[in-house]
């Protein structure tokens, strides 16, 4: 049993705890930008999940999923930021 397999449960539990904190911020966040920050962080955390999965299975094609996820999360955050910045700034 390799070292990473021994540590797999604690590592994934740590990342899941991060996701729980982000979900709490999405549910409670007093303003819309708070929720958007948490959504952005959640997208980055998923890339971390995929990286750990790649390391433990040894399948390199999973890294393509990480690349695409990072790109889509970035574009989504930018779109939301444009929408929110426009709603009050230019009227």
């Amino acid at each position: 049993m390799s070292m990473l397999e021994t540590l797999f449960i604690p590592l994934v539990s740590g990342l899941l705890a991060c996701c729980a904190m982000c979900l709490y911020r999405i549910a409670r966040g007093p303003t819309a930008p708070d929720r958007m920050v948490a959504i952005d962080v959640l997208g980055t955390l998923v890339v971390g999940f995929v990286a750990i999965l790649t390391a433990i299975t040894g399948k390199t094609y999973l890294l393509s999923v990480a690349i695409v996820w990072a790109l889509i999360s970035f574009v989504g955050t930018l779109a939301l930021a444009r929408y929110l910045g426009r709603s009050n700034a230019h009227d």
Partner: protein, 117 residues
């Protein structure tokens, strides 16, 4: 040796992620949360990817992983910048304990310059 190094780097990355998310949970306003969340989670995820590359040790994995790290290092600060701007424009006030607001001064300077010219 390689295995120990890679696993250590992954553990460091997960710790960075956890501290960043604790900051997201505990800090007082959206700008502070943005800074903690963006910096710590970006670096943490890059560390996890780097550890994954060390453990894989193959060329195709290395190329994809380096592309992914570069993408995250470029896109995450850009998204944070756009979010901070959007938050400011949508009227979120900084926390009462904040000591300086340079963006407000800049906006005031710009509008003043437009008024006199």
């Amino acid at each position: 040796m390689t295995e120990t190094l890679g696993t250590t780097v992954i553990v460091i990355g997960v710790l960075f992620d956890i501290f960043g998310c604790i900051g997201l949970l505990r800090l007082p306003d959206v700008y502070n949360r943005l800074q903690s969340a963006t910096k710590c989670v970006t670096v943490g995820t890059c560390f996890i990817l780097a550890g994954c590359l060390i453990l894989l040790g193959s060329v195709s994995g290395a190329v994809k992983g380096v592309i992914c790290i570069a993408l995250i290092l470029i896109s995450s600060p850009t998204a944070a910048h756009a979010l901070a701007r959007a938050a400011y424009w949508s009227g979120v006030e900084p926390w009462q304990g904040s000591v300086v607001d340079r963006y407000k001064q800049d906006l005031a300077d710009v509008s003043e310059g437009e008024g006199t010219s």
